[in-house]
């Protein structure tokens, strides 16, 4: 378990240009750090790794104090046992894949190091490229080697700074699944920075939403992204609902597929994915129609029954945070809010066209 309290100010010409002030706990699983550029995500990761020193705070991992401004403790990066994975892989260019991984391994004999390195490369499905140099590997292959290398030093936590953002979409999807598997096998906390809400919902067990140096909301990704607590969070996470589910059924003739969202089902345009494939669906909050009563005959293929939990008003618009088996935020105008008397506790029906449901992955 990671327990972190970090305060740091960045100054330009004596004026504070950015202040980070966060306090959070990370348990096992994948914790996603999400927020706009410059919100402090990377500074958090670098503070945990020991690359930057907080002004004030305390960072503890499994009772081991990494940093404590009160006692003047500041473990050097070498002794923190943190695995760091970067967006641009940073494999040592003068070493082969297996040498890169072996470099990280503390075993006494060179044979022991090599064997363990091959084992880790095999775990990432990249053992076939053991003797290639980084320049001879694709981006996805390089990132696999980088993950194997980070695990080679037997870290107590893995820090991933947008590890997939330089990869093409297909590789990205595959590798994201593998990173989650890797977490389940290694049983250490993963702290994962991403700019993609879809990746966050698919991979994250927990999400921390950052804005201007502060954590504005934390919780399960499906909740945080689809039920943003206030307008600051709403702006940080964007207007799309992100839902994770599995393909349940197809009807090719009628042009639809059914997705099981573990709580409700969603009809989306037909796709050819095999049944029970994990998918992520995006629905823009202003593509959802709200009705106070059940409407029978409409072309919208989805009619979900739910209750409004909260209304977050932002100027002339408002987000209705509704629970209908899953969480969905629905964007309405202030006028609709008043005319329909939409407030917490009210029962509503949500109409969503199949074509408004976008397959994100």
């Amino acid at each position: 378990m990671l327990d972190a309290k970090i305060k740091k100010e960045f100054k330009t010409n004596g004026r504070v240009t950015f202040a980070l002030d966060v306090s959070f706990v990370v348990r096992e699983g994948v914790t996603v750090l999400f927020g706009p550029s410059g919100s402090g995500k990377t500074t958090i990761l670098r503070s945990i790794a020991g690359i930057v020193t907080p002004d004030v705070g305390k960072i503890e991992l499994d009772e081991r104090v990494y940093f404590d401004s009160a006692t003047g403790t500041n473990l050097p990066i070498q002794r923190r046992r943190v695995g760091f994975v970067f967006q641009d892989y940073l494999l040592f260019p003068h070493l082969t894949a297996v040498q890169n991984v072996a470099y990280a391994i503390g075993s006494a004999t060179s044979k022991g190091r090599r064997d363990r390195a091959i084992e880790l490369l095999d775990l990432l499905g990249i053992a076939y490229a053991s003797d290639r140099r980084p320049q001879q590997l694709s981006g996805g292959e390089q990132q696999r080697v980088a993950l194997a290398r980070a695990l080679g030093s037997d870290p107590a936590i893995l820090l991933l700074d947008e590890p997939l953002s330089a990869l093409d979409s297909a590789t990205r999807q595959r590798l994201l699944g593998e990173i989650v598997d890797l977490q389940r096998k290694s049983r250490i906390p993963f702290l994962y920075i991403t700019h993609s809400p879809a990746d966050a919902v698919r991979a994250g067990d927990c999400a921390l939403i950052l804005n201007a140096g502060r954590i504005v909301q934390e919780g399960k990704p499906a909740e945080v992204f689809n039920a943003p607590r206030d307008s600051a969070v709403s702006r940080a996470v964007g207007s799309e609902n992100i839902l994770a589910g599995r393909v349940k059924d197809h009807n090719e003739r009628e042009g639809i597929s059914v997705i099981d969202l573990a709580g409700c089902e969603l009809v989306i345009p037909y796709n050819a994915l095999p049944k029970s494939t994990p998918v992520t669906i995006g629905i823009r909050s202003d593509d959802i129609v709200v009705s106070r009563e059940r409407i029978g005959q409409t072309s919208a293929r989805n009619l979900l029954e739910g209750t409004i939990n909260q209304v977050v008003q932002d100027g002339q618009q408002a987000d209705l945070l509704t629970a209908c088996g899953v969480y969905l935020k629905v964007r309405v105008t202030a006028q609709a809010l008043n005319a329909l008397d939409l407030r917490p506790g009210v029962k509503v029906y949500l109409l969503i066209k199949a074509s408004s449901c976008h397959l994100l992955s």
Partner: protein, 220 residues
């Protein structure tokens, strides 16, 4: 005259190059990777021999290391030995004169290594020394080698400071450039020509290898 000068030059330049490689890389590392206030001042001081007339550098070396020099007097008092007019003085003169080019090359080569590679190495539990020898140095290797080759050439051609500090004693402190000078003024054109040819040939080989080493590696 040719053979002793050639042998002495070889000895002096080899030792000087060895010394410069280590000291120059160390200074290059400090200048490239450490942040401190007097950094550019240190760089300027180390570069001085490159811009000063060699005789001035030689003069300073005498003031520092001569029998009555700032340090030399203690050396003489303790050991009864003085550096001036020995072959070791030629090594010192050549080293000081060629050091700037090594420091400059090493600094540039080490600065070009992305510091994040070092961060990765630290995060994998490796210390500063191991990281330097296994990551930083290999990544800067070509630039450092180029610096060594250039320093070798500079040390080989050293004349002014050597003349001041080591003198021009045939068979003892007379290196090839000094031998050429003496052969020329005493009218022994043949010897001067042979020595000049040897030095020219060495310089061409040096430039060739420097170019090969600093060429970016072929992409695969």
């Amino acid at each position: 005259m040719i053979w002793p000068a050639f042998k002495l030059s070889l000895l002096v330049v080899s030792l000087a190059t060895l010394l410069i490689s280590v000291v120059g890389t160390a200074f290059g590392f400090v200048l490239a990777k450490r942040q401190f206030r007097a950094k550019e001042l240190l760089d300027a001081f180390l570069t001085l021999p490159m811009v000063l007339p060699p005789t001035v550098t030689g003069y300073y070396l005498i003031l520092l290391l001569g029998r009555r020099g700032l340090l030399g007097r203690y050396l003489y008092a303790i050991t009864g030995w003085t550096l001036a007019f020995t072959w070791e003085a030629a090594v010192v003169a050549a080293s000081v004169m060629a050091l700037p080019i090594m420091v400059k090359s090493a600094r540039a080569a080490l600065e070009s290594v992305d510091a994040r590679y070092e961060t990765v190495s630290f995060s994998l539990g490796k210390g500063e020394v191991e990281t330097f020898f296994r990551v930083t140095l290999p990544l800067a290797f070509r630039g450092i080698m180029a610096g060594i080759v250039l320093s070798f050439a500079r040390a080989l051609g050293e004349f002014g400071a050597t003349l001041m500090l080591a003198g021009n004693i045939p068979g003892k402190t007379q290196t090839m450039p000094l031998a050429i000078f003496e052969a020329f003024i005493s009218g022994e054109d043949k010897q001067a020509q042979t020595l000049a040819l040897i030095l020219t040939f060495t310089s061409i080989v040096t430039i060739y290898f420097t170019n090969v080493l600093t060429r970016p590696p072929k992409s695969t």
